[in-house]
Symmetry: C2
Subunit: 240 residues, 2 copies
């Protein structure tokens, strides 16, 4: 069944008007008509079955019927990544959403000389992945900010797993097994790696744990996917 994220309150009997993009998708791509059912979620009220109403002036309308899933509280897991190549950032946004990250934070580093980071596109990709993978929420996608600035206001209670491609680091499984429950974040660097100053900064913070992801040199996107997988499988919501 079609499953859409909608940023409106969901309650039984409520009638909702969908925006232009979703109306087009439902009416013209999927060709739904009055009486057809779909699923809606908004990140707060769980998942609901809704029924299509007659369209008005091109806008699709739905009536919310009954709840199909209760809202869960997703793991508090952030991903900090430095997008360089276009495809890599898109892939990271999609896979991080599927793997249940709660917040995506694109960062700039000394070696990220990108033009505009396409944050709006990341939001759209992450939302579509959430719709398809049956999440009950969509990860927040922040505006790009410099890594150093982000770390200045960091809450030290949130452990940051730093996927280090060089220097001293423990195997990620070992680090995860020793962690107490609590908010987590994963940091992967840009394709060219971090510069020496950044390494120093990262290694000086008590909340940062440098982790190693095996003997091969993983690309930044692979490292992000692998680290999120291990966090979820060993400390996140995969145990259920």
């Amino acid at each position: 069944m079609i499953r859409l994220f909608i940023d409106q309150p969901l309650a039984p009997g409520t009638c909702l008007k969908l925006d232009e993009k979703q109306s087009h998708y439902l009416l013209h791509v999927m060709r739904l008509g009055p009486g057809d059912a779909l699923l809606l979620f908004n990140g707060r009220d769980g998942e609901w079955r809704a029924v299509m109403q007659p369209a008005k002036k091109g806008a699709a309308g739905v009536e919310v019927a009954e709840q199909t899933k209760k809202q869960d509280v997703p793991p508090d897991l952030w991903l900090l990544f430095a997008p360089i190549k276009r495809g890599h950032g898109d892939l990271i946004a999609e896979k991080a959403s599927e793997l249940g990250a709660s917040r995506l934070l694109p960062i700039t580093t000394r070696r990220t000389v990108v033009g505009r980071v396409p944050v709006a596109r990341y939001r759209s990709i992450a939302t579509e992945a959430a719709e398809q993978c049956e999440r009950l929420s969509v990860p927040e996608v922040e505006e790009t900010q410099p890594l150093a600035k982000l770390l200045e206001k960091w809450d030290p209670k949130r452990v940051l797993l730093f996927c280090a491609e060089a220097g001293e680091a423990k195997p990620i499984v070992e680090v995860l097994q020793d962690l107490k429950p609590g908010p987590l974040a994963v940091l992967t660097g840009p394709e060219g790696g971090f510069v020496e100053d950044e390494f120093k900064l990262l290694r000086a913070k008590s909340y940062i744990r440098p982790v190693r992801l095996g003997p091969r040199v993983l690309r930044a996107d692979t490292a992000a996917i692998a680290a999120l997988t291990l966090v979820q499988a060993l400390k996140g919501d995969w145990a259920a």
Copy 2:
């Protein structure tokens, strides 16, 4: 430094002629000249530093100098996957190579109605990923075969982790922790999932362990990457 896979014996003092594609890459893309160094590996003799010789009739020549890494024995880990969408198969070939899979086996299932599976392209993608991630071998990429036929001649000593999107399955971490050391394989289904007959076949085999990859519905490519990551991190070569 440039790092290339070459299917020729590597020993000190040996002079090698590179093929047209690699010659073009070294001479015209990377613009190497006589005296420039690069790294070579062939999956058998470890990694070697080699030095460019003057080109002859457009073919690059190198002289093998000294060994830079001894050959390792990579984990015996196969990946069976059902490629449907073009990009997904490419992504799986790249990431499986980075994650150290030893053999890639594209399969057809009842719901894979693909035309020709681009096995040659998968080989080229897997080789390039191996060159970049500093592997000492390149995964074998087999010709496509029907899943049922492949299972007929399966060695039951090789446990097959079946990423089940439905039905009874244990969390993958639990299954991995209970496994004795030995050859392994991962199976991910096509985007549309398996049909009931296939499920029955898969569940009837003693060497197949249905595994669950968390509460969200992962795409086939994400499932392959996540399962390979967990195998390597918990049972493979990440512990070193």
